[in-house]
Symmetry: C2
Subunit: 350 residues, 2 copies
Amino acid sequence: MADIRDVAQRAGCSIATVSRALNSPQLVRPETLARVQAAAAELKFRPNALGRQLRGERTGLIGVMLPTLGNPVFADCLEGIEAAIDGTGRRLLLVTTQYDPERERNAIETLLQQRVDGLLLTLADAEHSALVDDLAAEGVACQLVYNDAPERPCVSVDNRAAAAQGVNMLIEAGHRDIVMVTGALHASDRAKRRYLGYGDAMQAAGLTPLPAFEIDFNSGARGERVREWLAQLERDGARPTALFCSNDLLALGVMRALREAGLRVPDDISVLGFDGLAVGELLSPTLATVVQPSVEIGRHAAQRLLAQIDGRVGAAGVTASHDPSLSHALILPHEIRRGGTVSAPPARQA
Amino acid sequence: MADIRDVAQRAGCSIATVSRALNSPQLVRPETLARVQAAAAELKFRPNALGRQLRGERTGLIGVMLPTLGNPVFADCLEGIEAAIDGTGRRLLLVTTQYDPERERNAIETLLQQRVDGLLLTLADAEHSALVDDLAAEGVACQLVYNDAPERPCVSVDNRAAAAQGVNMLIEAGHRDIVMVTGALHASDRAKRRYLGYGDAMQAAGLTPLPAFEIDFNSGARGERVREWLAQLERDGARPTALFCSNDLLALGVMRALREAGLRVPDDISVLGFDGLAVGELLSPTLATVVQPSVEIGRHAAQRLLAQIDGRVGAAGVTASHDPSLSHALILPHEIRRGGTVSAPPARQA
DNA sequence: TTGAAAGCGCTAACAC
DNA sequence: GTGTTAGCGCTTTCAA
């Protein structure tokens, strides 16, 4: 593969001139420029980004770490990230972690070894993660995505308030027996906050918050678990009238299990999700859910990261960005999407 | 940031020894090794991958180019790719093109400048793309994903046969008036082949294939377009009894428009999709569809790419891989998923 | 078992 | 405007 020296030779100039012709054409005499371009074209010269990156201050690479792309919420966010970097000449280095903290650690290290200019991360649990502190201490540009930790550089909705508002909608619809269904709480700070929000809403209405029903997300037998749980509730005569699912994907799975158990949504039981996946609107009944602006979350996070990167001085970065707001949370507005999966509770048969 | 020289100094050895200690510990005396490791740890040494990549033969980077992540089919595929490279120490450089051929060209160039070891691509139209030929000519390791071009290195289902089989299921259910709904045909070789398959099935049954109804995917007013079309059909008294949608996402959108137009699926009209998105099974009625194994497509494509990369000689690669099968299509089996969206056509009211 | 030294391809002073 | 040159951080002969 032709390198800059080959081009220089063919154009009859020095490699410095080739470099200039490519990067700052205005510094080069038009004829020279033309010769260089011709030579480059003839040789099919493809500049080696590694050489440039090794030499330069920045690589133009952004490291992105997400739990999974199996949940469209993350794919949507990634679309927002892409939209934000589009046209900036930057590229994305992508890793997924499957919610595994050890993979998180490795992935970040890998990205850093590639000398990414900055990191966009969704961590399992941001608040108790030493990782983020380490990164900050090292002066690595970084924004958390979806993680909702006020004191950290992150972009999210206010999960607690959003959940409370969603649950409140259920309460206003007449529900009193509301249970939250969630993936493993310890594996997601968002789920934890949403559970807090659930509690807030229940208590504000004078209702007793119930323990969350946790489903292992990685287990294949998810539907099975839900059915067993339902059967148990049925035996106890304790079937709630509404379920608040900590995310839409879970809600869809739960609705399926409900259907298989012969329960109708919303006639027998109401379901509320969280995320606002587009598919939710295509279902019938449409899925009621707490909408977070996933694409916008990604887009803002990326924009903030870029600002952070551009705000750094060349001087070996001791501290973080210039704009202090970038090191705190950006909370974007959520929205309640009313949908056909929520109705008034069935009439009590005392 | 500490570099290899700092570590060497601290460990009291040369940089060569440090390099060896890190990459081939067995070549280094245990005590030396320990000193190096200690020094590296104390200095929080993080090897710069760029240096190594610039020097070495491979970068360990895989370039992935997909049309969008908004369609879960591509996100699924990406999961398969990730699964395949997991543990190989390789990383993914990701770009999406929004089905734009110019972006395709740019994206590939960008990836190549980063000196990726190989490419995994979904092109808008693989058969008529000079791009792939250029890549092959340059000896770039490359596998197409989803593109279904027998003579090219790609992994897909047999879109034509799969579509025919799906349409045949509609015919067997009693449908004779079947229309295919698709995104812009020119923008996707897969859609084109599926339309051919539609034609095959229709003709085999002695039915006349109808023109496809093409919807611009990028237009926001998609639902609107579908409604207009339906209204037109209604006026003409030409409403088909079944729709074959070229992908599941489209099918969901179409079903929504149908619902809004007051038509019931499947009682008034049956709908068949293509892709086999997981959400399709969560709907009610469940979406009948032609299932392609998206995750497996991604996984196989990645595995083939890795084989191709590993099969190359160090010698400046003139030709492609050693295993000639890697430069032809790998066709994975599809599957028909019966679902609630397909039933017998409504009784004729002559 | 270790070290010295030559680059990988490029950019950016610094001279002319 | 253009050329010379010194690296960016690393791996890898080649010698010792």
